[in-house]
């Protein structure tokens, strides 16, 4: 295939060539960045909660006086446990993707906020909660019966706790976290073990580094730890069990109010929590697809115009011996050249756009491998778009050369 005559022909259509190249360049820039945003969001919503989401649900009641807490807990635990299919019911203060109950700043020193570690989520759980959550211990020991202590203010004043690996790596980098101490004002905590993963209630709100800064604190139910219950059942029983549990509340404790919104399976809470991110992903994909469609239609439009404009020249070429394939190849190569020009410009634009987005939104740099992928997509798109007009060009009979228009 000779490229020189194609370039010579394109030189006579500078404006149209430039326009297609521009369009491809813009599409390339938006495509790379939009795909990057989709992948970033996707990673965000894939967050590992560390708990057996499919087997767990949470049930929240309120509207009772703190002095009734022990009574409400006792009634709810007994009542809910009698529901067929229920594997366990335990008291907890918060679950991943539910309302946040215990976020507080902690530090390496007592009674001061100078040598701070950061704001962590305290997950308080009564006996059995650790087992029900299905957390994975990677270091240290499990909570024993005497580790469960009553909470005075919002947590026990002196507690042995489990921390997530992410928090351990952050607070004591390169050291064993076991036996280490930390304080939340005057409350003292000592690390007895490390769990693989445990997400905060609102993992998004605290930056990408801190999504799992959690402290599992064994706590005796009562006082402030009341009203929120962790239900565990076989995953395919769970919706029914939760439904029965919600209905049973009125009978078990007639004076409390069921919190409808916060009595759901962890899976539903998760879906709700990430709903806006899912919508954003759908939106981005919609924009990508529509934009590629518009670009392809634009190429079809201009290529058809060229084919029509050059009918006579095509006829002449056919008459002096060019095959149909030659004509087809001509238009395909022409498109390839223009799109390549557009992609080169588009890569620079994509990087510029990424820099702009990095300034305004917390986005990392665009990985380089997005560029060749974007290039391949656009080459493919260009070839697909030009195929129709090129086939029509190839079908021009040689006899056209002898006719005047």
């Amino acid at each position: 295939m000779q490229i020189r005559p194609i370039l010579a022909a394109l030189r006579r259509h500078r404006l149209a060539t430039l326009l297609i190249a521009m369009e491809v360049a813009l599409a390339c820039a938006v495509l790379c960045n939009a795909c990057f945003l989709v992948v970033q969001r996707w990673k965000l919503i894939q967050i590992h909660s560390g708990v057996d989401e499919s087997a767990l649900a949470v049930l929240t009641v309120n509207g009772f006086d703190p002095s009734q807490a022990a009574d409400v807990n006792a009634r709810m635990l007994t009542g809910l446990r009698s529901i067929p299919g229920m594997q366990s019911v335990t008291v907890i203060n918060q679950v991943p993707f539910g309302p946040q109950a215990g976020a507080a700043g902690v530090s390496h020193d007592p009674g001061s906020f100078k040598n701070t570690i950061g704001v962590v989520d305290f997950v308080l759980g009564g006996p059995g909660t650790y087992e029900a959550l299905g957390l994975k211990l990677v270091e240290g020991r499990l909570p024993q019966a005497d580790d469960y202590r009553p909470a005075t203010n919002f947590a026990p004043p002196d507690a042995q706790v489990l921390v997530s690996r992410a928090l351990a790596d952050h607070a004591w980098p390169g050291e064993s976290p076991l036996g280490k101490d930390f304080w939340c004002d005057k409350l003292h905590f000592r690390v007895m073990g490390v769990v693989d993963h445990l997400a905060r209630a609102h993992p998004h709100d605290w930056g990408t580094q801190a999504t799992e800064w959690t402290v599992f604190t064994p706590t005796l139910p009562g006082g402030s730890l009341a009203g929120t219950y962790l239900l565990r059942a076989n995953p395919h029983d769970l919706p029914r069990v939760l439904h029965e549990a919600r209905d049973a509340v009125a009978k078990i404790a007639p004076h409390v109010v069921l919190d409808q919104e916060n009595s759901q399976t962890i899976g539903d809470l998760r879906a709700d929590y990430f709903k806006s991110d899912r919508i954003m992903i759908d939106l981005l994909i919609g924009v990508i697809v529509t934009m590629l469609g518009v670009t392809a239609l634009g190429i079809v439009g201009l290529a058809s115009f060229w084919v029509q404009q050059r009918r006579r020249q095509i006829g002449i070429r056919r008459a002096i011996g060019a095959t149909r394939t030659d004509i087809l190849r001509y238009f395909q190569t022409e498109n390839f050249l223009i799109v390549t020009g557009g992609i080169v410009l588009g890569m620079a634009l994509a990087y510029a756009l990424n820099l702009l987005l990095m300034q305004h939104y917390e986005l990392p740099r665009l990985p380089v491998y997005y560029l060749p992928i974007g290039a391949l997509v656009l080459w493919g798109l260009g070839q697909l778009a030009v195929l129709g007009p090129a086939l029509r060009a190839a079908a021009v009979p040689p006899v056209v050369a002898t006719r005047s228009v």
Partner: protein, 432 residues
């Protein structure tokens, strides 16, 4: 002449329907996407109290101890009970109101309605005149009610509809958390957007159902919703003495001179408190107005900005595409244009003819864009976010949609029209 160009444009557009449809579609998609996202941005970054917001200010000061002090720190976003009450009673502004959010159990007299929790605002008497809150029945409470921790309550229109079927309920009693409250007023529909006076309970949340005096709410230990920022000895059972900021203070200052004087008063107050040893940090006061406060808190979600950027990128792709298609369309008619030139039409009139054609594409594309924007906003309203319900197209945005579509298409038409006017008439006539 314009009518003739219009006729020519319509004929030309009809001649090649596929190409015309492509251009209209590109413009409609681009404009539809842009106007949808712009409308959402427009609604979200709007002025919650037009005409009044410029004279409402949010005093901030720094009552914290020296723990973790950095000179460039911003003061806390709320005030303590002690400072809030001191500024409230100083009455240095035309109006001042201290407030926080919460939720209270309502026990309706009508046994057909189960007890339920309702979002509440605990505030002081000036809240109603300062924010120019419209009343359907009755009125707000007065400063004496604040002082006496009176058991009075103001209901929202929605709650009054729910409890009393929309009838005038003033003077009746309502049981709130096992205590009887006298209803003194019922609000008319009122939903400032954003929910500027308390961003902690959601930047775009709807208004509260119940308003009670802050003093009463504190005495009765009603549940407090929002943010507590504590230091030193921190939170205790008595929020009146706790070293925590948890209340919002708003003041109305009608002139810049009054605002300057108030700022000075805040500085003096801070210095005085530091001299007394209550404040430890150097005086650090702020006095943003409503829009300044909303900017500082970045209330418009960053996703919304991102969507606007994305839509405009998309519009640009569509426009470049339209330029290309229009170029193809105009150049295809070189023969016809050549004849018009040869018959005496000037370049200028040819240019006007082609731009008329572009304008027609723009108008049709704009109508399509409007339909797509309405569809887009309908989709936005089905989202779960609390601002979703607000996404409606208003008249200025509707006109802007058409203006944007026509201007964008005319701009897109400039280059192809100019290129088509350069065609030498003789060459076209000869080649035919």
């Amino acid at each position: 002449m314009f009518a003739y160009y219009l006729d020519l444009a319509l004929r030309s557009l009809r001649r090649n329907k596929a190409l015309t449809a492509l251009m209209v579609l590109a413009i409609a998609l681009g404009i539809g996407a842009s106007m949808t996202t712009l409308t959402v941005l427009h609604v979200l970054s709007g002025d919650p109290l037009p005409g009044r917001s410029g004279s409402l200010y949010y005093p901030q000061m720094d009552p914290r101890d020296m723990d973790g002090y950095k000179p460039q720190d911003d003061p806390p976003e709320q005030v303590t009970w002690i400072d809030g009450m001191a500024l409230l009673h100083a009455k240095r502004a035309r109006y001042q109101a201290l407030m926080t959010g919460g939720a209270v159990p309502i026990q309706p007299a009508n046994s057909a309605i189960d007890p339920f929790f309702e979002d509440a605002r605990y505030t002081s008497a000036d809240f109603f005149p300062m924010f120019d809150v419209p009343f359907l029945f009755g009125h707000g409470w007065n400063a004496a009610d604040d002082g006496a921790s009176a058991h009075v309550v103001v209901l929202s229109r929605k709650l009054n509809d729910k409890l009393f079927g929309g009838k005038d309920s003033t003077g009746q009693m309502l049981r709130v958390d096992d205590m009887a409250f006298r209803i003194v007023g019922v609000l008319d529909s009122w939903r400032p957007t954003p929910h500027f006076y308390d961003l902690y309970t959601g930047s775009y949340s709807s208004e509260e159902g119940v308003f009670v005096p802050l003093t009463t709410a504190t005495d009765m230990k009603f549940t407090h919703n929002g943010s507590n920022d504590c230091w030193g000895k921190g939170q205790s059972d008595n929020m009146k003495t706790a070293t925590c900021t948890w209340l919002q203070l708003w003041v109305q200052l009608d002139t810049p001179a009054e605002a300057a004087a108030y700022r000075k008063f805040l500085l003096n107050y801070s210095s005085e408190q530091k001299a007394l040893g209550r404040f430890q940090r150097p005086p650090n006061v702020r006095l943003p107005d409503v829009m300044g406060w909303l900017d500082y808190n970045k209330v418009v979600p960053s996703d919304v900005h991102l969507q606007v950027w994305l839509a405009f990128g998309f519009l640009l792709v569509c426009l470049v595409n339209t330029v290309g298609l229009m170029l193809a369309k105009f150049l295809r008619r070189s023969g016809e244009l050549g004849i018009r030139r040869a018959l005496g039409a000037s370049r200028r009139s040819l240019f006007a003819q082609l731009l008329t054609e572009a304008g027609v594409v723009g108008l049709v594309g704009g109508s399509g864009g409007l339909l797509l924007a309405l569809l887009g906003l309908w989709l936005v309203r089905r989202q779960p976010s609390d601002y979703a319900a607000l996404a409606y197209l208003d008249l200025p945005m509707l006109l802007a949609t058409f203006a944007a579509a026509v201007v964008a298409t005319l701009l897109a038409g400039l280059l192809p029209a100019w290129r088509a006017c350069l065609i030498p008439p003789a060459l076209q006539l000869k080649s035919n």
